[in-house]
């Protein structure tokens, strides 16, 4: 693969015997936006951590590390104090924005475990959109409250930015690019223009994912079937994205427990090995197409994950043809196609026909994808639920179980600096 020595697999990842494992997964119930009122987002974070530890047969007294991502409001230091963690030895939050960091947070936990900085690290994500403003609207740019008719709106000027991100989204928000659906509709439109990707191919992602959710009792949309006609009839949000091209907005939390192979052997369910992880972004990709549209054409109409994918497969020693199942971050149908391309399941520009061929479908597709229903149909927890599902697949616990699954790819958000994992049955 022509990799430089410093970035090649063996040096960058732990030797096989030291590879960290995921030994526990925990989830709260998932509900539509505003559907959870009996507990706060922070309380859900606590519940998911306790559930993941219980699943592993461990207790808070075993925990010495916490990891999260995406400007988590539920700060690790408060969580450690409130849970009564005896000694917090490691706390980290990935800089990768939005949903790009779920796999990176797991990777950071694994790095801590593999280098001996901590022994049991819990990765968590709680997201209650009903309790806070919608994620991804940009800092300080939540929709302003309507003003009384009698008071004229102030004539706007240029404000002083309070963050780098705020200065960047100033080049998008005033033009009505209010959030990710609009930004990534433009990316998908470019992909359609370049490669002939069609509406029905986007729809294939939505319909396939919904069919998987129908088997999953945790999935918010589990009882709502979707045909291609249903997809095509859903209202247009931002061309080419209809409502059903966009992920759910939901409430809920999940967590996973990462530890050493030695500890893993003694846990209730044993471990799932974190075979490899990678994170990063392309030169000039910036914060992603959400705030930057100046990157090279080949990168713009892509997931921006090409180099992450190459590093990941190199470290794992397996390729896209070897993994049995994939959990691909699905904030939008179009970006699932771009991730399938960047991670090498199909050629550049072939994501649409690949999805429409049934490749993603459980059980008969060549790479069953988002077997829990993903963010489109299970829940939007910034993709940490995709890691949970990957673990379930390798334990044999999925509601769309791929028979004999040995390896699983999990990816985080496309279109921003991102991260990914290869998980393997131990």
């Amino acid at each position: 693969m022509g990799r430089r020595v410093v970035s090649s697999g063996g040096e960058a990842s732990a030797t096989a015997s030291r590879r960290a494992s995921i030994v526990g997964v925990g989830e709260t119930r998932y509900a539509k936006w505003g559907g959870i009122t009996e507990a706060s987002e922070y309380q859900l974070a606590v519940q998911s951590v306790l559930a993941a530890l219980d699943d592993a047969g461990l207790s808070v007294d075993d925990v010495d590390g916490l990891a999260s991502f995406a400007d988590d409001r539920n700060e690790a230091t408060f969580l450690a104090a409130d849970l009564g963690i005896p000694e917090l030895r490691y706390a980290t939050m990935s800089w990768l924005p939005g949903g790009g960091g779920a796999c990176a947070a797991v990777s950071n936990a694994a790095t801590a475990v593999e280098t001996g900085q901590a022994e049991v690290v819990v990765v968590y994500r709680s997201l209650c959109q009903g309790q806070f403003r919608r994620f991804g609207r940009g800092p300080g740019n939540a929709a302003p409250k309507p003003r009384p008719e009698t008071r004229p709106a102030p004539r706007p000027g240029v404000r002083r930015a309070r963050s780098l991100l705020e200065a960047h989204v100033a080049f998008t928000m005033p033009f009505g690019m209010f959030g990710p659906p609009i930004a990534y509709a433009m990316v998908t439109k470019r992909h359609m223009h370049r490669f002939g990707t069609t509406t029905e191919q986007l729809g294939a992602v939505a319909v396939t994912t919904r069919a998987h959710a129908a088997r999953n009792p945790r999935a918010i949309m589990g009882e709502r079937t979707m045909t291609m006609d249903d997809y095509l009839a859903s209202r247009m949000v931002s061309d080419p994205f209809r409502l059903f091209d966009c992920c759910l907005e939901s409430d809920g939390a999940c967590a996973v427990v990462v530890t050493t192979p030695e500890r893993a052997a003694d846990t209730r369910r044993g471990g799932v090995t974190i075979l490899a992880s990678a994170q990063g972004t392309l030169r000039g990709f910036g914060h992603g197409q959400y705030s930057n549209v100046s990157m090279p054409d080949d990168d713009y109409a892509s997931a921006g994950a090409r180099q992450v994918a190459a590093r990941l497969w190199g470290r794992a020693g397996v390729g896209p043809g070897d993994v049995d199942v994939a959990e691909i971050y699905d904030h939008f149908t179009g970006l699932v196609l771009l991730s399938l391309e960047d991670f090498g399941f199909c050629g550049r520009g072939e994501g649409g026909p690949f999805a429409a061929s049934g490749a993603m479908s459980w059980p008969d597709g060549s790479i069953p994808t988002n077997t829990h229903g993903g963010s489109l149909s299970e829940a939007y927890v910034h993709g940490l639920n995709h890691v949970v599902e990957g673990v379930r697949q390798l334990r044999g616990d999925s509601t769309c179980q791929v028979e004999g699954a040995q390896t699983c790819l999990v990816t985080s958000a496309a279109g921003v600096p991102t991260s990914a994992l290869v998980l393997a049955r131990t």
Binding site: R155, V158, A167, G176, I182, M186, S238, G284, Y300
Partner: protein
């Protein structure tokens, strides 16, 4: 003249926020000048503006004035009113425009002055200014060669 332009978007659109690197771009806009940041050493352009040239790592830059013409690189027709006041504006077009003379830098803007259904990738456009306030003007684009007032 500034303050007297046609209006396409409501007053309560989120106003931009600027920092030391980006303020000059907004000041140029207020004077109805479409500019791009250009490295004074190697001539590479960048947008959004930043503190250092990512090609040669020189920190000095200038604002290069652009002719105001360009091409639609990609776009979307937004049909959901994300602000209540946009209910009368939707559907509207958000586009990535590649300005002529911009050295490949692209800008997020809008295509106005035509039916959204007419917009296509590759459409030639030209800048048209919208004064949002005394200190704030935004560059929108319209199909190139339309007569003044021709919607």
């Amino acid at each position: 003249m500034v303050g007297d332009t046609e209006r396409w978007f409501p007053d309560d659109m989120p106003p931009p926020a600027a920092n030391a690197e980006t303020a000059g771009w907004w000041e140029a806009c207020a004077a109805h000048r479409l500019v791009v940041q250009r490295c004074t050493a190697c001539g590479a352009t960048r947008h959004p503006p930043g503190p250092v040239c990512p090609r040669c790592r020189v920190t000095t830059a200038e604002w290069a004035e652009l002719p105001g013409t360009g091409t639609v690189y990609t776009f979307t027709v937004v049909r959901q009113a994300f602000l209540p006041s946009l209910a009368q504006t939707v559907p509207y077009v958000v586009a990535a425009v590649e300005p002529d003379g911009g050295g490949g830098a692209r800008m997020v803007s809008n295509v106005v002055g035509c039916d959204p259904e007419e917009v296509s990738v590759g459409m030639e456009v030209e800048v048209v200014w919208e004064d949002m306030g005394p200190e704030l003007a935004l560059p929108r684009f319209r199909p190139r060669g339309r007569l003044e007032g021709d919607r």
